[in-house]
C-alpha cells in the first residue's frame, strides 16, 4: 500500500494548483497470503471468498493469531514437557505482484512550474509492477503468529515496511472465549471484517490520478504509527478490542520533534466493538470503531518561530457487513459511515484553515458478487461531505472551499486461478472537492475529468 502522508500537511496546503492535488496511491493493502495456505494445507477458499475478503473461517484463523498449522514442525520441550519451540520447516514466505495500466478522463497540466502554459502530462500510465510485496505470514511459536509485509511501490520507487501485525491468541478451555494481543502499525489492519478502512473494497486502487482532498484520519495512518492492543471474542458473536497507538515514523528524525514533519502526538486510543451472527451460509456483522488523535503539524511557525501545535481529530464509525457464501454464488455487502470532528490549532496557527472546528462525513457502500469464485465484480459508492473552509480547501483545490465529493467504482474481475485476479476498474466522479464543473476555481476542470479506467493484474504466490 502507498504511504500516504496526511493530506493536511503544511506544504500541501500552501501549494496551489492541480499538481499538488495529485496524491500518490492511497491504496489500501491487498492480500491473500499463500504462505498461510502452505502452513495450513488449506486452499485459499477456506479463508477468502475472493481475496482479500475473509470468510467466517478466515476471520477465526486471523483471530487465532495465524497459528493453525497442519504441517510437521521443528519442536522442542523443556524438562517440564512444556513446548519451547515449534517452527515451520520452511519459512512462511509469499509474494504479491500487482501491475496496472491507468487512464484519466482528461490529462492533468504538466507539474513543471516553468513548462509553457497549457502543457499537459501524459495520459495512460503503466506500472509494472505497481506494487510488489514480500510477505512473512505464519506461526512463530505456539499461540504466536505474524504477518509482515515489505512493499516496493513504483510511484515511490522504494521498498518500505508495509502492514505488520504480530499476534498472540489463546482460548478458554470450553472454546467459548477467544482472547489475544496484537502489535500492529496501521489502525484497522488487525480487523477481521472488510467494512473497515485497511481491508475495504475496492482492494486495488489506481496508482495515479487525483484523489479528493479530504478523507478521515483513521484510514491514513498506515506505517506512521504503532500500537498494542487486547481483544476478545465470545462465542464467535461478540468482539471487543482496545488498542493504543503512538507515532512511529519511518525515515524521519528520532526522537520525533518539529523537524520530523506532521506526526501523531502522544498516545492515540482505538476501539472496536462488533456483533457477528452466522446462520447457514449467511453471516452478518454490525459494529463500531473509532479513534481520538492529536496530530502535530511539523515545522516552525514562520511568523513567530514557535512550534505549530496540535490538531485534534475524533473519528467515530459505524459499520456493517453481510456475506452469503454458497456453492456457486457468493454475494457480499459492506457499509460504513464515518464522522470526524476536527479541532484546529496547529493548522490554524499555520494559516492553513479558516475555522477553528470542522467536520467530515464519509459514507461508503460496497456490494460484490462472484460466480464459482471465477467471474464477478464489485461496486462501491462513496460520498464525502464536510464543513466549508476556504483555507483548508483553497482555490486551486476547491472553488467554494468545500470537500464534498461523490464517486462510484465499478470493477469486473476474472480469476483464472484462486490466487490470480485480472480486473477492469472504472471510477466515476459526480462531484469533486465541492463541485461538478470548474470545481477547482482555477482551471475549467470538471469532476468527470478525473474519472479513471484501470486494467490490473494481481497475483499471490
Amino acid at each position: 500500500m502507498g504511504l500516504q502522508q496526511p493530506s493536511f500537511s503544511l506544504t500541501a496546503l500552501a501549494a496551489v494548483g492541480l499538481a499538488t492535488a495529485m496524491l500518490c496511491a492511497a491504496s489500501t493493502p491487498a492480500e491473500a497470503v499463500p504462505s498461510f495456505a502452505r502452513q495450513t494445507g488449506l486452499a485459499c477458499e477456506a479463508c477468502h471468498t475472493v481475496f482479500p475478503e475473509l470468510t467466517p473461517f478466515g476471520r477465526r484463523f486471523k483471530l487465532n493469531a495465524f497459528t493453525l498449522t497442519t504441517k510437521q514442525e521443528i519442536s522442542d520441550i523443556n524438562e517440564r514437557k512444556q513446548g519451547t519451540l515449534s517452527l515451520a520447516d520452511l519459512p512462511p514466505l509469499a509474494l504479491m505482484f500487482e501491475a496496472s495500466s491507468t487512464w484519466q478522463g482528461k490529462r492533468v497540466p504538466d507539474s513543471n512550474p516553468s513548462a509553457p502554459a497549457g502543457s499537459q502530462a501524459q495520459n495512460g500510465t503503466v506500472e509494472f509492477p505497481q506494487q510488489l510485496s514480500l510477505f512473512y505470514g505464519g506461526k512463530i511459536a505456539d499461540h504466536f503468529g505474524a504477518l509482515f509485509q515489505v512493499t516496493y511501490s513504483q510511484p515511490s520507487d522504494h521498498f518500505t515496511i508495509d502492514n505488520s501485525d504480530i499476534r498472540y491468541a489463546d482460548q478458554s478451555q470450553s472454546g467459548d472465549f477467544l482472547y489475544g494481543l496484537t502489535l500492529n502499525n496501521n489502525p484497522t489492519v488487525q480487523d477481521v471484517w472488510n467494512s473497515t478502512p485497511a481491508w475495504g473494497l475496492p482492494s486495488m486502487t489506481p496508482p495515479v490520478g487525483l484523489a479528493p482532498a479530504a478523507s478521515p484520519l483513521i484510514g491514513k495512518l498506515g506505517a506512521q504509527v504503532a500500537g498494542a492492543g487486547v481483544y476478545g471474542m465470545y462465542k464467535d458473536v461478540f468482539y471487543l478490542e482496545g488498542t493504543v497507538y503512538h507515532a512511529a515514523l519511518t525515515g524521519k528524525t528520532t526522537p520525533i520533534d518539529s523537524t520530523s514533519g506532521s506526526h501523531l502526538d502522544n498516545y492515540m486510543p482505538y476501539w472496536r466493538a462488533a456483533y457477528e451472527r452466522q446462520w447457514g451460509r449467511h453471516s452478518a456483522e454490525l459494529g463500531t470503531y473509532g479513534t481520538h488523535a492529536h496530530f502535530n503539524q511539523g515545522g516552525l511557525n514562520p511568523e513567530n518561530g514557535l512550534v505549530m501545535g496540535a490538531d485534534t481529530f475524533t473519528d467515530v464509525a459505524v459499520d456493517g457487513q453481510y456475506q452469503y457464501i454458497g456453492e456457486n454464488h457468493i454475494a457480499t455487502a459492506q457499509a460504513s459511515w464515518t464522522h470526524e470532528n476536527q479541532t484546529w490549532q496547529g493548522l490554524l496557527n499555520a494559516g492553513g484553515t479558516s475555522n477553528s472546528k470542522d467536520n467530515l462525513n464519509q459514507y461508503k457502500v460496497t456490494g460484490s458478487y462472484y460466480y464459482n469464485r471465477t467471474y464477478g465484480g464489485n461496486v462501491t459508492y462513496t460520498r464525502l461531505s464536510g464543513s466549508t473552509d476556504a483555507l483548508l480547501y483553497p482555490v486551486g483545490t476547491s472553488a467554494n472551499g468545500s470537500p464534498n465529493s461523490q464517486w462510484e467504482t465499478f470493477e469486473v474481475d476474472y480469476l483464472p486461478f484462486l490466487n490470480t485476479k485480472v480486473l477492469l476498474q472504472y471510477t466515476l466522479y459526480q462531484k469533486f472537492n465541492g463541485g461538478s464543473n470548474a470545481y477547482d476555481g482555477v482551471t475549467n476542470r470538471k469532476a468527470s475529468d478525473n474519472n479513471l479506467v484501470m486494467l490490473g493484474l494481481w497475483t499471490n504466490f
Binding site: N64, T67, Q72, D170, S172, Y179, V230
Partner: protein, 200 residues
C-alpha cells in the same frame, strides 16, 4: 508502549492459566486444529463443516485415511481436508476418531418444512422403487445412527448431506455403493431426505 504491551501479556497469561485450570481437556489436536472448523466437541455451527460428534469411529477412521491418501476427492475434501489429514499418523487418526465417536451427538431441530421432511422419511424407510433408490434405513439404521463404516446421518447439516448426495451421484466423491444408491435420485428427493435427516 512497551509497558502497555508487557502489562497486556501479563494479563493474558493470567487469563490463560485461569482458563486452563478447568475440566479435563480434549486432545491437543482436536483443540488446536479440528475444533476451529468442526466446532468444540465436534459440533459445528456452519453447514460447510460436517458434525463429527457421535459419528461412527470406524467411518471417521476410514474417511481420514481417504483424505490422507487423497482418494476422497470432492472439492471441499480437497480444499480443506487433504491438507489437514496429510500429515496425520495412523495412531493419530485412530485416537482422534475414537475421541469424536465418544462425543454426544446433537439432535436436529424440528424441520422448517414438515411436508418435505415427511416425504424424506418415506424414502428413508421405504426407498423409491420407481427410481431404484433403496431404503436408506437398511444400512444407515432405523435412527440413521450408522454402524461401523456406515456413517451416522442423524442431526447432520442438511446442506452438507445434500452436497454429499450430489457428489456421490456425479462421482466427485467416489463410492460405488452410494453412487448406485443415488444414481437416479432427483434433486427434490435429495432435498427431502436431507431435510428429514437433519431434523433427527
Amino acid at each position: 508502549m512497551k509497558k502497555v504491551f508487557l502489562a497486556a501479556v501479563g494479563l493474558a497469561t493470567v487469563l490463560a492459566h485461569a482458563a486452563s485450570a478447568a475440566t479435563e481437556s480434549p486432545p491437543k489436536l482436536a483443540r488446536e486444529v479440528c475444533s476451529k472448523c468442526h466446532g468444540p466437541e465436534g459440533i459445528s455451527q456452519s453447514p460447510l463443516f460436517p458434525r463429527l460428534a457421535g459419528q461412527q469411529a470406524e467411518y471417521l477412521d476410514q474417511q481420514l485415511h481417504q483424505f490422507r491418501d487423497r482418494s476422497r476427492g470432492d472439492p471441499h475434501a480437497q480444499a480443506y481436508m487433504w491438507g489437514v489429514a496429510g500429515p496425520l499418523t495412523d495412531a493419530q487418526i485412530k485416537s482422534i476418531s475414537e475421541y469424536y465417536a465418544s462425543r454426544k451427538p446433537v439432535h436436529g431441530a424440528a424441520p422448517s418444512d414438515p411436508a418435505l421432511a415427511a416425504k424424506g422419511k418415506e424414502i428413508f424407510f421405504n426407498g423409491l422403487e420407481a427410481r431404484n433408490v433403496p431404503a436408506c434405513a437398511g444400512c444407515h439404521g432405523e435412527q440413521a445412527e450408522g454402524q461401523g463404516a456406515i456413517p451416522r446421518l442423524a442431526g447432520q447439516h442438511a446442506d452438507y448431506l445434500y452436497r454429499q448426495l450430489r457428489d456421490f451421484r456425479s462421482e466427485l466423491r467416489e463410492n460405488e455403493t452410494m453412487h448406485a444408491n443415488v444414481q437416479s435420485m432427483t434433486d427434490d428427493d435429495a432435498a427431502a431426505l436431507t431435510e428429514y435427516l437433519a431434523s433427527q
